[in-house]
């Protein structure tokens, strides 16, 4: 059960059960649908950009514990941040989720989302964890839809 409890850490289980920012958004400036064709999971991410700041971000949809927790953690991490900072975080976290290396200490400042790093040992589940981030980037880039293909 070791790898399993590393995958499903308390933080993950908590965000799965009580997803944060799981709702719609008033006056969203950007939104996109993300789709994982492997499992049929779908999430939508919406955000409101005010100048350079991501004033609000939310998600909705169906997914497994990993994809839901990842989306939830993403919204808590990005809300209120500058566009530049959010983009940097997105890139660092996607790298963390797909890397064969253990996450190094410099990632600790990212906080709870480090809990997702256990997914690296479950190759078939990595896309569950990256779906929210791909969808977030699609929204920023003005794409309406994205997939994890």
């Amino acid at each position: 059960m070791n790898e399993l409890t590393e995958l499903y850490q308390e933080i993950i289980l908590d965000h799965n059960k009580r997803p944060r920012n799981y709702r719609g958004i008033d006056k969203a400036t950007h939104s996109a649908e993300g789709h994982n064709p492997l499992c049929g999971d779908e999430i939508s991410v919406s955000l409101r950009l005010n100048g350079d700041q991501i004033e609000d971000i939310s998600f909705q949809g169906e997914g497994c514990a990993i994809s839901k927790a990842s989306a939830s953690l993403m919204t808590t991490l990005i809300k209120g941040k500058s566009l530049q900072s959010a983009k940097e975080k997105s890139s660092v976290i996607k790298q963390m989720l797909t890397s064969s290396e253990e996450p190094d200490d410099s990632l600790e400042e990212l906080g709870d989302i480090i809990a997702l790093s256990g997914v690296r040992r479950f190759p078939v589940r990595i896309k569950c964890a990256t779906l929210a981030w791909h969808t977030f980037e699609a929204a920023l880039n003005g794409k309406k839809e994205t997939t994890t293909e």
């Binding site: 399993l4 499992c39 049929g40 169906e62 514990a65 990993i66 569950c128």
Partner: protein, 421 residues
């Protein structure tokens, strides 16, 4: 009441002499440990494991018999050709086709349906013609028809089902008309196990002179198949779901259709003469077997079928029915678990959702206990939508599974519920 039923099934199994422990020893992979746990393989609707006789046959072919078939004038090629063509006769006998010419070897069910859709559709479909399929179909019996409909202007009609997963035959009867050019129906739903009344459905279609294709991918490993008695026009199945190798499958087609249908692929083996201006094609079945086929796979398939039949189809069915009944009762005792598909006529599939736990999380958890189940949409997204779910977890049983394996599944589903609560 439930105990009595259980006892009755056990005695049937015992009296038939079906010894599951002995049968398990025929499958080397069933001894495998996954981490610290013995493998519990419950993904038989996706593919079945292979008996040692098949593995040996593949080994023997490549060690002692390998050569390309047809046209070789040397010893090995003649032997390989002979074995390949004997396999065709073996398969014809297995499904009771009237002639071995009606057996075409392909890569699998998917390729077989694509062949019929493309070749039959190209020859016979016109604008506003209709093709009838059902909501229970695997993507392999949906998408090929969509593609040919798009090309020819024909339309796809879909037979609906009720909440148990049973097709609405009244609607089906009303759909049939002089516009219908093909009915393509699965024998058994891969996702929820419904057994369709195909004989009755074929009769109804024939009243309108409409040919019927039966997708037998899920029925062949569990039922005696008699294409002559069914009177189906096409019957397709995959070798790997009946203990044979991957990469080989069968298209049975009535000779009268196969002769009228144009080739699906061109190439070697399927031609009579080729000039730069024009080519002429061989007779069936060669017309539909362009290129070098999966020779060892075709020979292996008949070895697998010999093995399957040697166990006795009635004994296999008695054992599998016992497992399905036992598994259904066991899973129903897990609170919050809902079995999808409750048709009275149902095969060896237990598809379920468990409270709001996503099937992928169930699958990962079960895997950590050595239990292999499939999770997701099972290549049946329209059916999932009809059921109101995005995915299910599916345990699919076959002749080497045991009640103990179902117990392991049940115990772990209870653990999963606690874990995610």
């Amino acid at each position: 009441m439930s105990t009595e039923i259980t006892k009755a099934s056990v005695s049937t199994v015992q009296s038939s002499g079906f010894n599951v422990e002995r049968i398990r020893r025929d499958f080397p992979i069933l001894d495998l440990q996954i981490g610290d746990h013995p493998l519990v393989y419950l993904d038989n609707a996706a593919t079945t494991q292979k008996p040692k006789v098949l593995i040996d046959s593949l080994n023997k072919f490549y060690s002692e018999q390998n050569a390309n078939i047809h046209r070789g004038v040397y010893f090995l090629s003649e032997k390989a050709t002979d074995a390949y063509e004997k396999s065709r006769i073996r398969i014809a006998n297995f499904i009771n086709a009237s002639n071995a010419r009606e057996i075409i070897f392909l890569r699998g069910t998917t390729e077989a349906i694509n062949l019929v859709a493309q070749s039959f559709g190209y020859r016979f479909f016109q604008k506003d013609d209709e093709v009838i399929i059902s909501i229970l179909e695997h993507h392999a019996n949906i998408v090929p028809w969509q593609i040919i409909c798009e090309l020819t202007g024909a339309k796809l009609k879909v037979i609906p089902m009720d909440d148990r997963g049973v097709l609405d035959l009244e609607v089906y009867e009303k759909m049939l008309s002089d516009r219908t050019r093909m009915v393509a129906i699965t024998h058994i739903s891969n996702a929820i196990g419904t057994i369709n009344p195909v004989k009755e459905m074929i009769e109804k279609a024939h009243q309108w002179d409409v040919p019927v294709l039966i997708d037998g991918a899920q029925s062949v490993p569990h039922f005696p198949i008699d294409v002559s008695a069914l009177d189906c026009d096409f019957f397709v199945f995959s070798g790997h779901k009946i203990f044979g190798p991957t990469g080989v499958g069968v298209l049975y087609g009535k000779e009268k259709w196969l002769r009228e249908m144009p080739p699906y692929q061109g190439g070697g083996e399927m031609i009579r003469t080729v000039t730069m201006e024009k080519s002429t094609f061989k007779d069936i079945p060669d017309k539909f077997e362009a290129g070098t086929p999966d020779i060892s796979g075709v020979i292996g398939l008949s070895v697998a079928i010999d093995y399957f039949e040697s166990l006795g189809i009635e004994a296999i069915q008695a054992h599998e029915n016992d497992l399905l009944n036992y598994g259904t009762k066991a899973l129903e005792q897990v609170g919050g678990l809902k079995i999808m598909g409750n048709a009275t006529d149902k095969s060896n599939v237990l598809s379920f959702v468990l409270t709001d736990i996503h099937p992928h999380d169930i699958g990962t958890f079960l895997d950590s206990e050595g239990i292999a189940v499939r999770t997701g949409h099972h290549c049946a997204q329209p059916l999932m939508k009809r059921l109101g779910v995005s995915a299910t977890a599916r345990a699919s049983l076959c002749l080497y599974n045991t009640r103990e394996e179902i117990d392991k599944l049940t115990v772990n589903l209870l653990k999963i519920k606690n874990f995610f609560s």
